[in-house]
């Protein structure tokens, strides 16, 4: 089944339109009822979470990422067709480069490999203050150091108070404290902005 067929199948499964036969072949299931009690994860808060890894990509071999943790521990991370890969936006394995930083969550296998469910490549989350706004960029103060945030048209979004997220960044103001999610450009002080949470927009 190629990618187009797969998309058509999933589309019809959720919208219940033409092509039901395909969806039935996959066996469409009704979503389970919401969990009555919150599902708690049994990890000792002080121990390292075995199903999580972080670090810089030092090698790529077939579907395996070799990642050196910031604590110098070496991780082998296996990527499958069911692994989501975020690098400013959902992307594919080809977009991952040596030198990228990442966070990974998945299942630790017996041989120590992490079978990844999700990869977040170069992702950063920072509370910053906007110090200047220019054509396509924001200068941000992050605890005293300057970070340049690049606006990527069509990708960068802003959240103002509790309003729906928008691509309109024209309400951002110099001096405002905002929280950003972005993709770091390795070994620079620059990030491509994914979302700017501008909680307050007065002034």
């Amino acid at each position: 089944m190629d990618a187009i067929d797969r998309r058509r199948l999933l589309t019809s499964a959720v919208l219940g339109t033409a092509g039901i036969a395909g969806a039935t072949a996959l066996g469409s299931l009704a979503p389970e009822a919401a969990h009555a009690a919150p599902a708690q994860l049994g990890v000792d808060p002080l121990a390292d979470d075995p199903n999580f890894a972080e670090g810089r990509v030092t090698g790529i071999k077939d579907a395996m990422l070799l990642v050196t943790g910031s604590d110098t521990v070496l991780h082998r991370i296996q990527v499958t067709s069911g692994t989501s890969i975020w690098k400013l936006h959902p992307t594919t394995f080809e977009a991952v480069d040596v030198g990228d930083g990442l966070y990974a969550r998945g299942v630790r296998l017996g041989d120590g490999t992490l079978a990844a469910d999700s990869l977040w490549v170069n992702i950063v989350s920072m509370s910053v203050q906007i110090t200047a706004i220019g054509n396509g960029w924001l200068h941000l103060d992050h605890g005293g150091s300057r970070v340049v945030g690049h606006v990527v048209p069509g990708r960068t979004a802003a959240v103002y108070r509790d309003a729906p997220t928008t691509g309109d960044l024209s309400k951002l103001r110099v001096g405002r404290h905002v929280h950003i999610i972005g993709a770091w450009r390795p070994d620079t002080n620059e990030v491509d902005l994914a979302t700017v949470y501008a909680g307050t927009v007065a002034g």
Partner: protein, 141 residues
């Protein structure tokens, strides 16, 4: 003690931050106010981790009276958008609540107002996606 079952929970927004040895712009983050914070452990930053911390984060400026919970205290944090819950121990001071007074995010009729807690990437990613930066949460002791 546990997920979403204490008598006096706190409600607000949660986010994530990096600490300990790390890559990228947060490589200078250090071990946090408690000295033992690492991105790979389930830890969190709490605005009232100490008196000095409280005077920096100033949640009272947004009308919140948060309990003093020092280094090592274990919170149970529930993602209000899914019901997923994770435990995390206090390891740093933050977020700077007063800088974001009035900020609000909702999932259906459940809302979280004001920045209340920051989780390490391993704790946050256990109950939410790192690419959703701010989410409403419930915090139990």
């Amino acid at each position: 003690m546990g997920c979403a079952n204490s008598a006096s929970p706190a409600y607000g927004e949660m986010s994530w931050f990096c600490c300990g040895s790390a890559w990228g712009p947060c490589s200078s983050a250090g071990g946090g106010a408690c000295g033992n914070c690492t991105s790979g452990s389930h830890q969190c930053a709490w605005p009232h981790a100490s008196a000095a911390c409280y005077s920096i984060t100033q949640p009272y400026a947004c009308g919140h009276d948060l309990a003093l919970r020092g280094c090592g205290h274990v919170f149970y944090i529930t993602n209000q958008c899914t019901g997923g819950c994770v435990s995390a121990s206090v390891a740093d001071c933050g977020p700077n609540t007063h800088q974001f007074c009035g900020e609000k995010h909702c999932c259906g009729s459940t809302c979280g107002t004001d920045r209340m807690i920051d989780l390490t990437p391993s704790a946050f990613s256990a109950i939410a996606s790192l690419s959703s930066g701010l989410l409403p949460c419930r915090i139990d002791s």
